[in-house]
């Protein structure tokens, strides 16, 4: 369905990379599935800098999701080093990780994950509640964020009153609202038709050009090609890591 998304490598801007944000070295992750032990990651080393636009690719079972959970501070490695903005997050407790996620990471999910009974505005305000911002500041910033993704007119709509593309825009506005260090998007076009998918990828391009750091996890080449750098995983190891062509 993504065949119509044209590779837009020609003539696009590549911003110079900034300071190190994510420093992952020799990270491995083991899962126990009953009596079986699964090596989801077997020593992965990756550095991500500010202003990068990175795609993580790999077939299912490659460890792609595990790496994404790790990058998103949803999970901690079994072994190895993980520093986020110079802070060691490998051994942090749940609540410390929650604070890191709140301040540093903007999540965009395949299924949007909006609260169904809250308006677009309330959904975007949610991370700011956890950040401890007063109501007036929350409202102002959420409105700003929604306007920046082109939803200034639909702020009081609930998710079921919005189209798929609009829902994903709300989710992106929510990811942006706390000015995170990285935006982590997991198959962001996976639940959208190809035309809407193109629009969402264009939005990511725009956000990148405005100075955001974006990591997209996908199994689609066409989507990955929007990024400036592609990391490919296979069997829990990095197969390749280089610029997108």
């Amino acid at each position: 369905m993504s065949s119509t998304i044209a590779p837009a490598t020609a003539g696009r801007v590549t911003r110079p990379a900034g300071p190190l944000v994510i420093d992952i070295a020799d990270v491995s992750k083991l899962y126990k599935m009953g009596t079986e032990i699964i090596h989801a990651l077997r020593g992965v080393t990756v550095e991500i800098r500010r202003n990068e636009y990175l795609a993580i690719m790999g077939p299912s079972g490659s460890g792609k999701s595990t790496l994404m959970n790790m990058l998103g501070c949803l999970d901690t490695p079994t072994a190895g080093r993980y520093e986020f903005n110079g802070k060691n997050v490998a051994h942090m407790a749940d609540d410390e990780l929650a604070d890191i996620r709140n301040r540093e990471i903007g999540f965009v999910f395949q299924t949007f994950n909006l609260l169904p009974r809250s308006t677009a505005l309330a959904n975007v305000e949610l991370p700011l509640i956890y950040a401890g911002l007063p109501a007036s500041a929350r409202r102002e910033r959420a409105e700003q964020s929604l306007t920046s993704v082109g939803l200034g007119e639909r702020m009081s709509h609930k998710p079921n009153e919005l189209s798929g593309g609009q829902r994903q825009r709300v989710a992106i506005a929510r990811a942006l609202v706390n000015n995170p260090s990285i935006i982590l998007a997991d198959e962001p076009t996976g639940n959208l038709d190809s035309k809407t998918g193109v629009e969402i990828m264009a939005l990511f391009e725009q956000l990148y050009e405005q100075g955001n750091t974006i990591i997209v996890v996908t199994h689609e080449e066409d989507i990955a090609r929007h990024a400036r750098r592609i990391v490919r995983l296979r069997d829990g190891l990095i197969e390749s890591d280089g610029p997108a062509l």
Binding site: L74, D95, D99, R101, S118, I129
Partner: protein, 416 residues
């Protein structure tokens, strides 16, 4: 701190949105709490009512009256110590009054003899049985704590002369003279004619056992002529200052010993009773009723709590993905815990308040239909049921909310 307040506000908003979105489910769950709260608060009002009823009954005995009798009130194990005592005689009252007058600064005002027996009252074809008929002195007017509906008490002259006159209780007047005045009519008490000169206003009954409105009072002399005084009597003593009841009791013991010329070292051959003795007997019964009642009604509240716990588990299960999302966005464990606790507490509070208002109207209705039924609504019930609702909500919501707060965000996000 600010963050906690914002999280709480958000949690309440979400909780009420959730309740609105699942109206039927929330209502059914709240129903369990409603029934529990109604049961507990109704029991509470009933206990209070019983308490008030007891107190009213005790007040009928008079809190400034001491009762001199052969037997102590309440259960007696060593009956052989009492059975040989001489009976209390009306003459003892006269002697007591002499002693009181003789004592400077006496705490005791006056002694009134009371002789009584059960009779049947008759007037023409009308008849009422179980009438407690008392013979007493004209001083009875000073210890009587009831009003006259009509007429008056016999005076000293009538008392001394033993005139066949009587004062009857409200129920007797109603039974024998429905819809008209009883004054001046001649009634028969166990066949002995008596002129009605007074009717007492309605008083009620003592613990539902002794009906104060079913008594007839006549001069002790005419009582003696009609029924004799062999059965022995009782003496009621009015105390001047009811705050010094204990001292008054001690003085009365001395006075009674003097009146009966008991020797030093000899054991008292009478008993001084007061309403406190009955209260001491009633209190354990009252507490027993309260404990048993609260335990049984507490069970229904417990069932309601299980319903809340169940629905909170369901809610957590249904919204696992939402929990994952919230955690991804930076919700701490505390945040998730509070969110579900608040949801459970909100349902409980709504149930509690609905239950409380139901109780309020039930109490009003019961009070209107059965005015005699001892039931009473009080403001403290509001506080109690709010506190109970919150406690039930927290207790039943805690386990599921705790589980939710501990969910692994990765697992929760993957949940479909």
């Amino acid at each position: 701190m600010a963050r906690l307040i914002y999280e709480l506000t958000e949690s309440f908003r979400i909780a009420f949105a959730q309740i609105r979105a699942n109206k039927l489910r929330s209502a059914l769950t709240a129903l369990g709490v409603i029934i529990g709260i109604v049961a507990v608060t109704l029991m509470g009002t009933a206990i209070r009512g019983i308490d008030t009823g007891f107190q009213n009954s005790l007040n009928m005995l008079g809190d400034d009256i001491l009762y001199v009798g052969k037997w102590p009130w309440g259960n007696v194990e060593d009956w052989w110590n009492y059975v040989g005592r001489p009976p209390i005689k009306p003459e003892d009252a006269e002697k007591l009054n002499v002693v009181f007058a003789d004592t400077p600064n006496s705490l005791l005002d006056l002694a009134v003899p009371m002789v009584g027996r059960g009779t049947t009252a008759k007037y023409g074809d009308h008849k009422i049985s179980g009438v407690m008929t008392f013979g007493t002195s004209a001083d009875y007017g000073r210890i009587l704590n009831a009003d006259f509906k009509e007429g008056r008490l016999f005076n000293d002259t009538e008392a001394v002369a033993g005139r066949p006159v009587c004062v009857i209780g409200f129920d007797i007047a109603e039974a024998l003279f429905p819809g008209r005045s009883a004054i001046g009519e001649e009634i028969f008490l166990n066949g002995h004619p008596n002129w009605v000169i007074g009717v007492l206003a309605k008083q009620g009954s003592f613990l539902g056992l002794f009906n104060f409105d079913n008594q007839a009072i006549m001069p002790i002399e005419s009582f003696r002529k009609a029924f004799g005084t062999r059965r022995g009597s009782e003496i009621r003593v009015k105390v001047r200052d009811k705050t010094r009841l204990v001292e008054a009791k001690e003085e009365l013991v001395g006075a009674m010993r003097r009146a009966r010329a008991q020797l030093p070292g000899e054991r008292d051959n009478f008993s001084i009773n007061d309403q406190g003795a009955i209260k001491a007997q009633l209190d354990p019964i009252k507490q027993g009723i309260a404990m048993a009642g609260l335990f049984i009604t507490g069970l229904s509240l417990f069932v309601g709590a299980i319903g809340i716990m169940n629905i909170t588990f369901v809610s957590v299960k249904e919204r696992t993905k939402e929990i994952g999302t919230r955690k991804a966005l930076g919700a701490r464990r505390r945040t998730i815990l509070l969110q579900f606790l608040i949801e459970a507490v909100s349902i409980c509070l709504i149930g509690g308040l609905v239950g409380l208002s139901l109780t309020y109207f039930l109490v009003l209705a019961v009070g209107a239909i059965f005015p005699a039924f001892p039931i009473e609504f009080s403001i403290s019930l509001v506080f109690v049921s709010v506190i109970v609702s919150v406690v039930v909500g927290v207790a039943s919501g805690f386990a599921p909310a705790w589980g939710a707060s501990r969910l692994d965000p990765v697992v929760a996000l993957r949940y479909e």
